[in-house]
Amino acid sequence: MSVESAVTTARERLASQHKHPVNQLFHDEATLGERVADKAASGIGSWWFLGIQSVFIAIWISLNTFEFLTHKWDVYPFILLNLAFTIQAAFTGPVLLLSGNRQAQKDRLRLEHTAEVAETAEKATLEILEEIERNTVATLQVLEHLRKRRAARGT
């Protein structure tokens, strides 16, 4: 492998990884179940899903209402279609909660990260304050020294 392609590969790998620790832990280190849960939630909650479902319902009702060359398997009032709807709803609820639980977990993790960062940031701020105070003391000493020197010269 040439040096150039090695650099490109490394860049691509970096680009696919998250920078924020919470995203790294939550997305890059997700277990198989968590990955599937994310895929399921984003699959059901998409315009593709809504569109395909609507087309499917329209075809089902048309085939069972109007005279086509097909056998009518679920005539009015569409009891089997009702069952299909219920099955969809029975799975959508748990998947919704699955995704919600995962979001709540991420929120929890984000706050923990905020607490950690806030703690170190506060330490850094106090360090800055301490350093400036030290500077003030040093400047004061310089001033005192100059005043003493002027007094000794008697000007």
């Binding site: 620790p21 832990l25 069952l83 909660l97 706050l111 923990e112 800055i128 001033l143 000007t155």
Partner: protein, 168 residues
């Protein structure tokens, strides 16, 4: 006087960052661990009985074991009512009782989703309140730093005055 070594603030040191990630990873995989952030403490560690129950309920309903169990039961139900031998077909095609059972589940799932959602929005409210408190604290720190730098500048200007007054 020797030049001081480059001093990296605590928050930017690499070992501090990796320690944070290590602690976060532990907190992520162990939901019962003690929380560090006050909002998480209030939300999880100090939850009331009803709130704990709501969390457990939404945690159980929104889990892979629940989804897999429900799927298996559905398959078994349909199988026994279509091809079951030595057993009464209690809900033949088009499975009206199964429909009722699943509707029943969906009727409860809706409110439980909202229960979990309400709890999350409550948490969001507390988070913002806490952020406002923290922001006040940050402002106080910045004010102190600014005051100190102003004091420093005044002293430096006085030194300049002293130096200018000196005979050249």
């Amino acid at each position: 006087m020797t030049q001081p070594a480059v001093h990296v603030p605590a928050s930017m040191r690499a070992e501090v960052k990796s320690l944070i990630v290590h602690r976060l990873r532990r907190a992520h995989r162990d939901p019962d661990s003690d929380h560090k952030h006050p909002v998480n403490q209030a939300h999880y560690d100090e939850a009331t009985l009803g709130e704990r129950l709501a969390d457990q309920l939404s945690g159980a309903l929104g889990s892979w074991p629940f989804i897999i169990t429900q799927t298996s039961l559905m398959i078994v139900w349909v199988y026994f009512n279509v091809w079951g031998i030595f057993i009464a077909h209690w809900d033949p095609y088009p499975f009206i009782l199964l429909n009722l059972v699943l509707s029943f589940q969906a009727t409860y799932a809706g409110p439980i989703v909202l229960l979990a959602g309400n709890r999350q929005s409550q948490k969001d409210r507390i988070t913002l309140e806490h952020a406002a408190d923290e922001s006040d604290k940050g402002e106080e720190h910045i004010t102190r730093i600014l005051t100190e730098i102003r004091k420093n500048t005044e002293l430096t200007l006085q030194i300049l005055g002293e130096l200018e007054a000196e005979p050249t």
